[in-house]
Amino acid sequence: MDILSLFLETGFWLATVRMATPLIFGTMGELICERAGVLNLGIEGIMAAGCMSGWTWVFLGGTLWGGVLFAACVGAALGLLHAVFTVHLGLSQHVTGLGITMLGASLSSFVFRMVLPQVTTPPKIIPFAPLDIPVLSSLPFLGPVLFSQTALTLLAFILVGVTAYVLLRTPLGLALRMVGENPLAAEAQGLSVLALRTGAVMVGSAFMAVGGAFLTLAAFDAYYIGMVNGRGWICIALVVFSSWKPGKALLGALLFAAFDAIQMRVQQQSISAIPYQFYLMLPYLCSILALITMSSKAAYPKALLVPFRKGER
């Protein structure tokens, strides 16, 4: 197959941007948590919870934006739980995060079965329609790729800009980065380390949940158990890949989604000698490769994984 012609296809780029959207939300969320010094391995479960709660909200008669908001609240609540365990009590961020993932995923499945007992084909909702912004969407190439997406995709791009601005250019962002780098110094400045970290984890988790909600409210129109399918873990790898910078994280998510899109095309078009399972492995192997290449020179937030307790050390 001709790979070059693929890159000239608008459909390919459209798919890439669409597939990047949940990754952008998730990666931004994780990035905010980690910049404040908290690793959030709950992401996979929080995304599942967002996926399910957003869909259920709409299925039970709510509006689409209401679903997004509800998903964000559910995400923030799970984030609060993670923060109480890791920030306030200083428990292992690894283990707590896995616990949150298990809780989020299993509760989603349980609640879904409560809402819809015994159905074989899940009912559908009317998802977000692609926007057609009057002037911008008629731009050549860029128009359809960027401005004929759903509103949530645009929101993801705006979110990256806002996150980068707040994190790098405002006093709040400085304070957040400070509690991630040197909490003792932050405390000496009169900042509340616990409050800042809790806030960061809650906001970050809300973003992750919105990323999950995108899957059911915009990308697909139904909920399937296990539909997050490892996207959360990929976001964690993407944060390392981006060396904790929002702009690079956006780039990483797009790159990654492009890989995914190529993989799907190749899978469809060629009855190749390589079994499709190996194409499906590519995203995971690329994540590992990205981790390896970026880890050696990565500038970890210094206080990542280190619990902060008043009066200790």
Partner: protein, 349 residues
């Protein structure tokens, strides 16, 4: 709010805290049962009856506990050395693949040789497999939490390819499964007319061996020391690198033995659903046991009771059996909290 370390913790508290936590988690999950319109007391009663109420139920529970003991030990050993092996699921399938590769006719030995041979080669494969992310961690600083996790997906895709492709059993009526292992490779049944197999005894033996090793040998001491303080053990001149490699081989090997035991003890052939997440549950098992090898046996049994019991409970009162997953997840969090409270007291001011 202030946290104060406790000076000494009574042994009764150390054992009692996880028990209290488990009870607390059942109380929390009772809310979900109420929501589903059933009475929690009768639901938990049905669960216990379904898991322990008859010889059949009991053997089913112990059969389910067997792979969980292996994967729980795998997580406990690794976490003791602060090697965050989240890849138990992948290593489980590596072991199962090895047993399939060698056990479906490639090697023919009498049963008393065949079974140890399969366990050893499976364990070796699983251990070597965990060495990849371990090497990436020590040499290239790639976080092993993420790499071991991502490798789970890769292994599962390899298994997917194998059972749909080269290993697909032509006798399986089109089902994606590999050929069954030869009779000599099947683990003997312990209780007649039950599914409880030799793997359970082996799991108990492994728990004892790991406990003995961690408690009484230099290697065990080194594993604990590296986990407690990497800096101090480097300073004390311990072979830190070798210790981490040993831990990885042991942890990956134990998780892979779960795969061999499930394959040769329960199903007999490789499928994609050989493990309903035993690798991940192993992490919960290890945490519930506070990383104690003998405690792993108890906590694995507890998790098995929840899963086996939830099946019959969900059938009896028409509630989704995802309640078992929720209970497990909540238990993990409450036990974390309980273990924290044995070490610290909270002072409000």
């Amino acid at each position: 709010m202030r946290l104060e370390p406790r000076d000494s913790v009574a042994l009764t508290w150390q054992i009692g805290a996880p028990l209290l936590a488990v009870i607390a988690s059942m109380a929390i999950c009772s809310g979900l049962i109420l929501w589903a319109g059933a009475s929690p007391l009768s639901a938990w009663g049905l669960l216990l009856k379904g898991a322990l109420g008859s010889t059949f139920a009991l053997t089913e529970t112990l059969t389910r506990a067997t792979p969980l003991i292996f994967t729980g030990l795998a997580a406990a050993v690794a976490f003791r050395a602060k090697l965050w092996n989240i890849g138990g699921e992948g290593q489980f399938y590596v072991g199962a693949c090895m047993a399939t590769w060698l056990g479906t006719g490639m090697v023919t030995l009498p049963a008393w040789l065949m079974i140890p041979f399969l366990f050893l080669s499976g364990a070796l494969a699983g251990g070597l497999f965990l060495l990849i992310p371990t090497w990436l961690k020590t040499q290239l600083k790639a976080d092993e939490v993420v790499t071991t996790l991502l490798l789970n997906f890769v292994v599962l895709l390899v298994v997917n390819w194998l059972v749909f492709g080269p290993w697909k059993d032509p006798m399986a009526m089109g089902w994606p499964q590999a050929a069954p292992v030869i009779d000599q490779a099947m683990l003997p049944v312990l209780v007649p007319k039950s599914s409880l197999h030799l793997g359970f005894i082996l799991a108990l033996a492994c728990a004892l061996a790991v406990w003995w090793m961690m408690r009484f040998t230099v290697w065990g001491f080194e594993i604990r020391a590296v986990g407690a303080s990497l800096k101090a053990s480097t300073f004390a001149g311990m072979p830190v690198g070798a210790t981490i490699i040993r831990t990885a081989l042991l942890s990956g090997g134990l998780a892979a033995m779960a795969g061999v035991s499930e394959l040769c003890g329960v199903k007999g052939y490789l499928t994609l659903d050989l493990s309903p997440g035993f690798g991940y549950s192993g992490i919960v098992v290890a945490m519930l046991a506070a990383l104690h090898p003998l405690g792993v046996v108890l906590s694995a049994t507890f998790i098995a009771v929840i899963y086996i019991g939830a099946d019959s409970m969900s059938r009896a009162i028409n509630i989704s059996n995802y309640i078992a997953d929720v209970t497990t997840a909540v238990s993990l969090l409450t036990v974390l909290l309980a273990m924290f409270l044995t070490r610290y007291r909270i002072r409000w001011k």
